[in-house]
């Protein structure tokens, strides 16, 4: 293994790292002075000095976006299959596909960043976003527990900073702090779990672990190792009861950060969680069938899924802030996605991946609209959305598509996502053993319709406007962001009409 070859195979990651450094340099050399001027006047009011800061931000965003596009190109140039250092870095159709998906999600998150005024140092912020992207790519592209943990930490540490990045908003700081404390504690659990697994199997490669566990008998230590490993991922995907950080982080963090946490981070976590449980822990699969529960990771995930679906949907009913609402709905959606992993097999895994991908796309769009409304009205409560339709029909229509897709209404992407998930769960176990979970999920999505429609109602019907917002005034600026959001809405619709363009790709990529 020559270093030249390593460089070739890890070229996408390398490109993103280099881009991050470049963006950081640009931000430091061009934007610093102007930005500090803004700080000194201390406030969101724009002054004359900020035009150079805007230019610097635009330059940074452009370089970052360019880097991401080149990285996608580099992923496409990779060989179909390769394994480095016993699984530390693997390249398969699956990893390549999800690297592209993650980078694309980050790309759209970047487009949201371009008009975010609250970020004082766009260069630094974008650099951290790009480092988090490297974390995503490592997470997706590894089949080795140690490397996965490093990916998790790189991603996590970047996200903590991103959540706390709005230095003028105490909520942002609170979000970052809570996220950090919660995250580091669950990391500790995960690390402990990994070390126990290592102790039992003597290896950290997933395939090797699987081979070792197949011969080992069920023992208490193994149970502790498995459950502890799962806890760390439950935190990442915000499964109840490990979701407590999510509402604060979604609400308090800057909008692009929240979008990143809800989209890219989630997709990568599900990919790697699926690989760990379906490949590494395959011998301790167990069974979550209603009448024949067998110890293993699948009943654990099933219980997490059930609890997440119930709690997420019910608590979301009581929210009056859209971002908090999205956070609790994210808990519920994490629960739905877990059903696919519980079902297992090629079918279940691909259904879960399809679902989480379409969900992530939808949420990036939804957060885009939230950011849009926030800039326009100064808040993101439900009441801030009232009358959005008359101000910007395009944004209102896009948001309606996102909400209906999340609720699982055909012909939008969310419908087919749920359809694949539930049908794979029903087919997975003999005698429809997972019917209880599917029934619960159906009940949950039924409940969820209420709060999603609530958002739509505020947008289209409700005219109780705060007096200071002129509702007749159409919003005309932010063309780039608007077109990005409508592009995402079109994608959500397209994936609903022709789900096969993504589903077939995912299914083909899973061996």
């Amino acid at each position: 293994m020559s270093y030249l070859e390593l460089l070739k195979l890890a070229s996408p990651e390398a490109i993103v790292v280099i881009t991050a450094l470049a963006v950081l340099t640009i931000g430091l050399t061009t934007g610093r002075e102007a930005a500090s001027a803004t700080v000194s006047t201390a406030g969101p009011t724009r002054n004359a000095g900020s035009s150079s800061s805007t230019r610097s931000a635009a330059l940074c965003s452009f370089v970052a976006a360019l880097g991401l596009v080149i990285a996608i190109g580099a992923v496409l140039m990779l060989p179909r299959n390769a394994t480095l250092f016993g699984g530390m870095l693997v390249i398969t159709p699956l990893t390549s596909l999800f690297k592209i998906i993650c980078i694309a999600l980050v790309f759209f998150t970047l487009l949201l960043t371009t008009s975010e005024k609250s970020l004082l140092h766009p260069g630094e912020y974008l650099a951290i976003v790009l480092l988090a992207t490297v974390g995503l790519m490592l997470l997706v592209g590894s089949e080795e527990l140690l490397m996965i943990f490093i990916g998790l930490e790189l991603l996590g540490l970047s996200l903590y900073v991103m959540a706390a990045f709005d230095k003028n908003d105490v909520r942002s700081a609170e979000a970052g702090l809570k996220y950090f404390l919660f995250g580091s504690t669950s990391s500790a659990f995960t690390l402990f779990g990994i070390s126990l697994i290592y102790g039992m199997s003597g290896t950290t490669g997933l395939a090797a672990i699987s081979a070792k566990l197949a011969t080992a008998s069920v023992q208490p230590l193994l149970a502790v190792g498995v459950v502890m490993t799962l806890v760390g991922f439950s935190f990442k995907i915000a499964a109840a009861p490990f979701h407590l950080w999510a509402p604060d982080a979604y609400q308090g963090a800057p909008v692009p950060s929240a979008a990143f946490i809800a989209s890219g981070s989630k997709v990568a976590s599900f990919v790697v969680l699926g690989k760990i449980v379906l490949v590494g822990f395959a011998p301790v699969h167990g069974s979550a069938a209603w009448h024949g529960m067998v110890a293993g990771w699948s009943p654990v995930l099933a219980v997490l899924a059930a609890f997440s679906i119930l709690l997420g949907n019910l608590v979301a009913l009581a929210q009056s802030n859209v971002r908090r609402l999205l956070a609790y709905s994210a808990v519920a959606h994490g629960g739905y996605t877990l059903i696919g992993l519980v079902a297992g097999g090629r079918d279940g895994f691909s259904a879960a991946l399809f679902y989480t991908t379409t969900y992530a796309i939808t949420l990036v769009g939804a957060f885009g609209v939230v950011g849009f409304v926030r800039r326009d009205t100064g808040g993101d409560d439900l009441s801030n959305f009232s009358g959005l339709y008359s101000r910007s029909p395009l944004m209102a229509g896009s948001m309606a598509i996102f909400m209906l897709s999340l609720a699982g209404i055909p012909p939008l992407a969310g419908f087919f996502g749920k359809f694949y998930l539930f049908s794979s769960a029903l087919r997975a176990s003999p005698g429809h053993g997972l019917l209880w979970l599917v029934a619960l999920a159906l009940l949950g999505s039924f409940i969820s319709l209420y709060y999603y429609l609530m958002v739509i109602k505020f947008i289209f019907v409700d005219k109780r406007a705060e007096p200071e917002i002129d509702h007749r005034l159409p919003i005309t600026d932010h063309v780039l962001q608007k077109s990005a959001i409508s592009l995402i809405a079109a994608a959500v619709l397209l994936l609903g009409v022709m789900p096969d363009i993504l589903a077939a790709q995912i299914l083909a990529a899973i061996p």
Binding site: V170, K178, L181, F182, P241, L314, V315, L317, L507
Partner: protein, 672 residues
């Protein structure tokens, strides 16, 4: 040459989906136009239709090269598990001929509408709907999957709803739109059940799939005895869409729409869909036929006979110019159904194509009359219009002769003779043959009556101020009239090109076959019908003045019969007192149950849910979060927050992790 044609047919298959896509796209663009852009809207719609026509011609060319040409383009819509739902497009003589007729007749109607709707304030919206309708119908004919066909079929239904109720401010238009939509939906329910059943048995909804489709031998073999029921369920959908008894009631009411819409619905598109559907899935009907007869086809024959006769009788006693045409459409569709039922698929489709031309002509002609008479639709208030509207009169007379089936000159005559010939050779019974002969007489009779009332005699009431319509309206009339005559060239028994084209045979010219016994039979019958008509209505509308004409001659002779027919045989009333009354009762009962029983239950469950939600929110928000939130809202600075975080709240968070993990561990241990 061969390779060139192969390349061409591949090219055509690749772009076949554009035939419906172009009008759809035009419709979408028009919808986004502001209301004042009338010119652009009409231009876009017509351009879209011209493009669809051009594409249809291109698609028509390869089908000419080989007998029984058929090409399909299938693709996977989505996959679930090991199953994949596949849809596709098909090009065969049936699809090509229908697409050509729809786009050509549609184009004439589009152009006519520019003049007819010139005064309407929702001109732009009207053209958007027209394009949408045309796209949906073109989609129906080239669909190679029953599911795709059903989707377009429903889009046709939606478009018809929008167009019939176009003048939404009129309560009668809104009611007619609803009636059309609901009545056809009843048929569609049967259709959909048939689709599900078919999918259950054969596992595919593709018509042609290189031997594996549901209309090909392997697929048909899997159906067995269920084929009869599947066929009948599908036929029920066709009954709704094509206005067959007992679901014909919506069609005459649909006259509430603007007249070009009536032309589009009753000539080229919507009602044709049912007959087309039957022709498309004909193998399902004829599966296991003995001597060309199956039980499902027998049902089709008798439904068709009932419809054809009933509608022809009702038409005699109607006074609204468009309603007469509407009932004549119902009657002609019945005739086509009979033709399909006795095995004359090609004859039925030929009549459908010819009917598309002359019925569009008649409807547009009646539109021209209504336009000229300033909105008057009652034929008793017209009269003598031949002097004021010569072009309309001549073209209308051509349409009338074609509809009556006058031999030799007019397309309708040839196709009708072909159908009657087929019906005459139906093994089980001769009755349909004689009943349909009676139908021919009746058709000639009521059309003569209409011509006399509208164009002959002396002008009455509004007719004195009538004027000929503008060029943009008469030109389509002339084109369609020429079509109604010239189409004969490919229809005669001497050179039955269209027949051979549709049934995939080769054709050669033989003048001797021109004269058939059927020719004389129909000559006698049509002349009899016209003669009786002139004799019966010889005095109608001959007196002067503004008064409406005196009592109808038939009413004078047979008042009871006339009332029975004028009231459409009281089918509407029958439905009102049975089906509709029953649904009202059921609705009231459900309403009561909803209000007092289910609502109570739902409220109960809602309360439980709310309680739980409040509880969990309480735990989340107040129990765990309150302290932190308090400080945030107060926003007294980061330091204060840090201390608050350290003062216990976050620890609870972290405690939850430990507790959660322990709970999961216990679960694991308990299961082990």
């Amino acid at each position: 040459m061969l390779s060139v044609s192969k390349g061409m047919s591949r090219w055509v298959m690749h772009y076949l989906c554009l035939i419906p896509a172009v009008p759809f796209a035009a419709s979408l663009i028009i919808l986004s136009l502001p209301n004042a852009r009338r010119g652009s809207a009409a231009a876009l719609a017509v351009t879209g239709q011209v493009a669809a026509l051009a594409l249809s011609v291109l698609a028509f060319l390869p089908t000419l090269q080989t007998n029984g040409f058929r090409a399909v383009q299938n693709f996977t819509w989505f996959a679930f598990g090991d199953n994949a739902l596949r849809i596709g497009f098909v090009l065969d003589p049936l699809a090509a001929a229908m697409a050509l007729m729809i786009s050509l007749v549609g184009l004439c109607i589009f152009v006519f509408s520019i003049g007819y709707m010139a005064e309407d304030k929702n001109f732009v919206r009207f053209f958007a709907y027209l394009s949408f309708f045309s796209g949906a119908m073109l989609g129906v004919v080239i669909a190679n999957s029953l599911l795709l066909l059903f989707i377009f079929w429903e889009l046709v239904g939606l478009a018809s709803y929008l167009l019939i109720g176009f003048w939404i401010e009129r309560p009668s238009a809104a009611a007619a739109a609803k009636k059309a939509f609901i009545t056809t939906r009843i048929g569609d329910m049967g259709f959909f059940l048939g689709i599900l059943w078919l999918y259950n048995r054969s596992g595919t909804l593709l018509f042609y799939d290189s031997g594996k489709g549901c209309l090909e031998s392997a697929g048909l073999a899997m159906l067995g005895a269920s084929a009869t029921f599947i066929a009948l369920l599908i036929f029920f959908g066709a009954v709704g869409k094509s206005g067959q008894f007992p679901l014909h009631v919506w069609l005459p009411d649909a006259m509430e729409g603007p007249t070009p819409v009536s032309a589009l619905i009753h000539a080229a598109t919507m009602v044709a869909a049912g007959v087309f559907l039957l022709a498309r899935v004909y193998p399902l009907f004829s599966l296991g036929a003995v001597n060309g007869v199956t039980s499902s086809l027998t049902v089709v024959v008798w439904i068709g006979v009932t419809t054809a006769l009933m509608a022809a009788l009702i038409a005699i006693a109607q006074a609204d110019i468009k309603r007469i045409l509407a009932y004549s459409t119902v009657s002609q569709l019945g005739l086509m159904m009979v033709s399909l039922g006795v095995g004359g698929v090609a004859a039925g489709i030929m009549h459908l194509l010819a009917h598309g031309f002359f019925k569009a002509l008649l409807f547009l002609g009646s539109g021209s009359v209504i336009h000229g008479c300033h909105g008057e639709q009652d034929i008793r208030n017209m009269g003598g219009l031949r002097r004021f509207m010569p072009v309309t009169f001549v073209t209308y007379a051509i349409g009338m002769m074609a509809l009556s089936g006058f031999p030799l000159l007019f397309s309708g005559g040839w196709t009708k003779e072909e159908i009657l010939h087929d019906i005459g050779h139906w093994p089980p019974s001769r009755a349909p043959y004689y009943l349909m002969l009676a139908g021919v007489v009746l058709t000639a009779l009521y059309m003569t009556r209409q011509i006399i009332y509208v164009f002959l005699g002396k002008p009455r009431a509004v007719a004195e101020h009538a004027h000929e319509s503008a060029r943009v309206m008469t030109m389509p009339l002339i084109v369609l009239a020429l079509g109604a005559i010239l189409l004969s060239v490919v229809l005669t028994p001497a050179w039955p090109w269209l027949y051979a084209y549709l049934s995939g045979e080769s054709v050669h010219f033989e003048i001797a076959r021109l004269i058939q016994p059927m020719l004389f039979v129909s000559l006698v019958l049509v002349s009899a019908g016209i003669g009786v008509g002139f004799w019966m209505y010889r005095k109608a509308g001959m007196q002067d003045g503004d008064r409406p004409s005196e009592i109808d001659p038939l009413e004078y002779a047979q008042p009871a019969l006339f009332r029975f027919l004028a009231n459409k045989m009281w089918v509407d009333e029958l439905y009102a007192h049975t089906v509709i009354a029953f649904s009202w009762m059921a609705a009231r009962l459900s309403d009561w149950l909803d209000r007092y029983f289910w609502d109570g239950l739902v409220r109960g469950f809602g309360a439980i849910g709310q309680l739980f939600a409040t509880f969990t929110t309480g735990v989340d928000e107040r129990g765990i979060n309150a302290g932190a939130d308090e400080t945030t809202v107060a926003a007294r600075g980061l330091g204060r927050l840090m201390s608050a975080a350290h003062s216990g709240q976050i620890q609870v968070y972290l405690g939850v992790i430990a507790i959660g993990m322990l709970a999961l561990l216990l679960l694991y241990a308990w299961l082990a």
